[in-house]
Amino acid sequence: MASWPWRGTARPRQSAHARRARVILTAEGLRLPLTLASRGSRVAALLIDLALVVLAIFGTAMLVGLLTHGIGGARPKVTNPAARDLLETLDVLWIIALFVLPNLWFVWFELGARGATPGKRVLGIRIAARPGRDGSAARLTAEAVIARNLLRTIELFMPVVFIGSALSVGADTTLAGWAALVWFGIFALFPFFNRDALRGGDVIAGTWVVEVPRRKLATAMSLGQGAQGISTVTGAHYRFSEADLAVYGEYELQVLERLLRDSSHASPRALEDVAQAICAKIGWSSGTGDERAFLEAYYTQLRARLETGMRLGRRKADKHDGG
């Protein structure tokens, strides 16, 4: 018997996705589904941000270097005491800026309306406040953003700088290097040992990282001629009886919806397979060449039937469901 050909691939992917699905309850009493960001996209976002910060620091250094040292590059001997003081002050401000800038970068962007640094924006993720124990949605606060980024210093910057300096100095490399590596490893692996993929900073701040939905409103399905049951190719009029429609439930309806919407995937072959499967199930003799009109008509009438049932409080989850 011909069956739904793509189910084998669709189900496991959904379950991996379902493991990251969470629900929060807003003040209006609305249950909002969220999807936690994957760990991979968070790492990628972090790398993009770090690259940008390094670029920003490097760019500023070049600019300041040009302004103070002239275009020659090498630092000229400064004899004027006033000029020397000025240079020293610049050096001091520079060291402070080196500390402040990476921290400020993350705090500044995450406090914006998007709740995301440029790296996170590229990956389509953002930070949000973790809901309370009862699932009630909480508001992101400035304090939370600061707290989660303060932790970044000990999670990332300190061990990395430490490993770097241990490698460059050379002496006593092994012990210090290993210590820093273990330190770094504890924090880097932290997200793998809790359900919500929280890193240390998220724990302290009460935040988590979620995906930002970017869905366009798709077209309504029941507008075309096909939805009326009339084929534009053959002019045939498809009408299904109550018994024809009773065999499938909501799951099959949604698979059919995906197939019809996803025009790139809806190869004639896939449409044919599904049309044949349906015909076999309801005992129609399947023709060829008019699958789309047939499926659109079946989809619309099946949905009308299931939605009517919904309004009356009857739901049918899938074809195995008796309701």
Binding site: D91, V92, W94, L111, A113, A137, T141, A205, G206, A304
Partner: protein
């Protein structure tokens, strides 16, 4: 402004015309409301981009109503439609709109204003008991450092990282020690060294705060270690009768710096205490609550360390007399105490 309104109403007209053609009741429901959804989406997109100026007044006024309309649309749709794509769109839009409507209450600038206008000092007062604990630990650390070195001067080298050319070692002459405190006005590079110390201190403070995570014990150890060093230094200069001079030398930046380290340690202890004794809350909730409360304090700590670094790098070189140094250090201490404990505005937005 007019253009946007016109665009929407045209769209809405066509949507209503479509609605009459749609075969399904749930699609008609959707087509009748689609205009409002798209308008909300356009507003949310512009708010996310931070372009508040690009949004008309009537759109801003309409935002809460549009959001509520969307919420009720979604709730109705969940009960009446099986159109998965439309449901997913509504859920996504509701989520984005929720983040905009209930986003961070203040932007960076608003937060800064609140921070200096009382939020910082309120944060410090909120962890009062922990400050007392941290203070006791720091005093104990100083005493331990003194006693250790007094019993066996070899401890000095263990506490103080040896630097070549440093005259501050046990057995140094009075003149050498005196020279290390005064008369370096002309020396070059001190300011840079001070700035380096700042970033070092800032990292130690953040470590103190962050290790509160491990029930506060590492924070306490860090405090003890850092103040033991102070005790050793005090012992060294006391031996040559230079205690007051050393205190003066340290106080210029030390009152600010030690205060900052005190607050950082107190923050760590606060988190540790909250996690060890969460009460009715889960450990995660307790940690998050304590972390958010102390984040404000920690921002202040970093600022204080910047001030301390500037004092150390510039002011100390300019003032070469113990009395003036003590006066400046005392003034700074008084200033912080006044700001934190006498300045009683909560800093919460009215």
């Amino acid at each position: 402004m007019m253009a946007i309104t016109g665009w929407f109403s045209k769209r809405q007209e066509s949507a209503i015309a479509d609605a009459e053609r749609a075969a399904l009741r749930s699609d008609r429901f959707r087509l009748e409301r689609e205009g409002d959804w798209r308008r909300l989406e356009a507003i949310v997109t512009r708010l996310e981009a931070g372009r508040i100026g690009a949004i008309g007044d009537d759109d801003l006024v309409a935002l809460p109503a549009l959001y509520r309309t969307l919420v009720s649309s979604l709730q109705v749709a969940r009960e009446t439609t099986l159109d998965a794509a439309t449901l997913a769109y509504l859920e996504g839009l509701a989520q984005r709109a929720w983040f905009v409507v209930y986003g961070p209450e203040v932007g960076f600038r608003g937060w800064l204003r609140r921070f200096f206008g009382g939020g910082w000092s309120a944060g410090v007062r909120a962890i009062g008991p922990d400050i007392l604990i941290a203070l006791a630990v720091m005093v104990a650390g100083t005493v331990i450092g003194w006693l250790l070195v007094a019993n066996n001067p070899d401890w000095y080298y263990a506490l103080m990282p040896a630097e070549p050319g440093d005259v501050r070692v046990p057995g140094a002459s009075r003149a050498a020690l005196y020279g290390s405190l005064f008369g370096k006005s002309g020396r070059n590079g001190m300011a840079v060294f001070a700035a380096y110390l700042f970033s070092n201190n800032a990292q130690v403070s953040i470590l103190c705060f962050a290790l509160g995570f491990a029930f506060g014990l590492p924070s306490i150890l860090l405090l003890v270690h850092n103040t033991a060093l102070l005790g050793a230094l005090l012992w060294l200069y006391h031996g040559q009768g230079l205690t007051l001079e050393l205190v003066g030398w340290l106080s210029v930046h030390g009152t600010t710096e030690l205060f900052a380290i005190l607050l950082a340690g107190a923050s760590g202890i606060h988190i540790g205490r909250a996690m060890a004794f969460p009460g009715q809350r889960t450990i995660l909730d307790a940690a998050a609550e304590a972390g958010r409360r102390t984040a404000t304090v920690m921002t202040g700590v970093v600022l204080m360390l910047i001030v301390a670094g500037l004092l150390e790098g510039f002011a100390r070189q300019l003032i070469d007399s113990t009395a003036l140094r003590l006066a400046l250090g005392g003034f700074m201490l008084l200033w912080w105490l006044t700001y934190f404990f006498a300045f009683r505005r909560t800093g919460v937005r009215r």
